[in-house]
Subunit: 247 residues, 2 copies
């Protein structure tokens, strides 16, 4: 769904240019998408009664749009239907699906390695993260809602939405979906080894990177699954994600 | 540093009792500590100019206190020295290390498995998360600061702080540490398989849990490490974390 003439990078704003370690920051669209597609949960931040709230949640990506979902009764979903600017929730007016939206910050992080320096000070981690700022709006168009829910399922396991029963009318009505456009977005990446100070190089401590590896374990069938149902091809190659890279 | 008579659970408040899936929520201190100790990064949320900001960062735990650190020039650290209630940063008064603190929400999440149901609607993930609400304050006591920095290094690799050069006066001065007491805290845990609706049980889709496994890869020595320096014992057993459990 990326428009044919989409720019290669997201725009830099005051909020997406870090004050520290700027050389690690990027607005490259391809990098941002790759990080978003690899992680499984995001951390969604919003303001409730003036205070920050950060909740882990699933998400899906369709082109330059992210979707998160939840029960129509969950807090961020209700706030998105009620909130004024900056998450002010004092209003008591009726909550509508086409409300003014909820200001959010959605962050995704992959930790790739532990960086052990000779000095405590230079210890670090190798990571890739994406931070998205914007206003999330409830999706009201039924077709977009279906597309979003497919994206959410396919984000958990690619290819899975075509191999499960789609949501019915009752389930669709019970599910609220928030849309967040990728516009004010940045990625941050640290790779490589530690950088010790010259005067520390003779110290006797081991120094280097401990990669963190991850992947699928052996799938565990549900108790009520008939033995005749085979493991689908999209699950039968338990491997560490291809995107994992040693430092 | 847990006081001898510490209660077994953190207190339940309006913010730490979820509106949804209450049966997954817990305030058990031991569970909260175990999740915090296993994860490597947290997501720290705060309010800046009225909008939410969520940044990944390292942390350490000492008893019922969490510590995060950063450059004295980084945004949350500066805000903690400036902020009034609820992260209002409009004041122009002098920033002091003993400022009124920064209201934060610190969240840690471990994803343990992908839950595949027959219906798209019942797809889920198995996870363990901790959400901490509170006001973070800059640490000014030099002894507490050293303890906090040791805890941060030992959180990355247990036992590492004793095998690295401690921070010197210059490094200590360049590092700000925020303290966040564990008080308004909750854990949330989902385990087990999918729960399909009875009318879906005959559908032909595979259903079950795909565990996510993780662990250390093979350590990669730094380019400038002398070959005579052995791999320390705390890194020589590359294993999946003991806390990982299949669903």
């Amino acid at each position: 769904m990326t428009p044919p003439q989409a720019p290669l990078s997201y725009r830099a704003t005051d909020r997406t240019v870090p004050t520290r370690a700027r050389e690690r920051a990027s607005h490259d669209r391809e990098l941002v998408h790759a990080i978003l597609d690899e992680a499984s949960v995001c951390h969604l931040g919003f303001v409730r009664d003036g205070a920050p709230v950060v909740l882990p949640t699933l998400y899906g990506r369709v082109g330059d749009t992210l979707y998160v979902h939840g029960s129509t009764g969950s807090r961020p979903l209700r706030l998105a239907g009620q909130a004024g600017p900056a998450g002010q929730t004092g209003q008591t007016g009726p909550a509508g699906p086409a409300g003014p939206g909820l200001e959010v910050c959605l962050t995704v992080t992959r930790v790739d390695g532990l960086v052990l320096a000779r000095s405590a000070f230079h210890h670090s981690i190798n990571y890739r993260s994406v931070v998205v700022h914007g206003t999330a709006h409830q999706v009201t168009d039924p077709e977009e809602k279906r597309t979003a829910l497919d994206a959410l399922v396919d984000h958990v396991v690619p290819g899975r939405s075509a191999d499960s029963r789609p949501a019915n009318a009752r389930e669709l009505a019970a599910t609220a979906v928030l849309r967040l456009d990728l516009d004010e977005v940045s990625a941050k990446v640290r790779t490589g080894g530690p950088s010790d100070d010259p005067e520390d190089l003779a110290l006797p401590h081991w120094t280097g990177v401990v990669p963190l590896v991850r992947g699928y374990g052996t799938p565990v069938p549900a108790d009520d699954l008939a033995p005749s149902v085979p493991l689908p091809a999209y699950l039968s190659a338990p491997t560490a994600p291809a995107a994992f890279s040693a430092p």
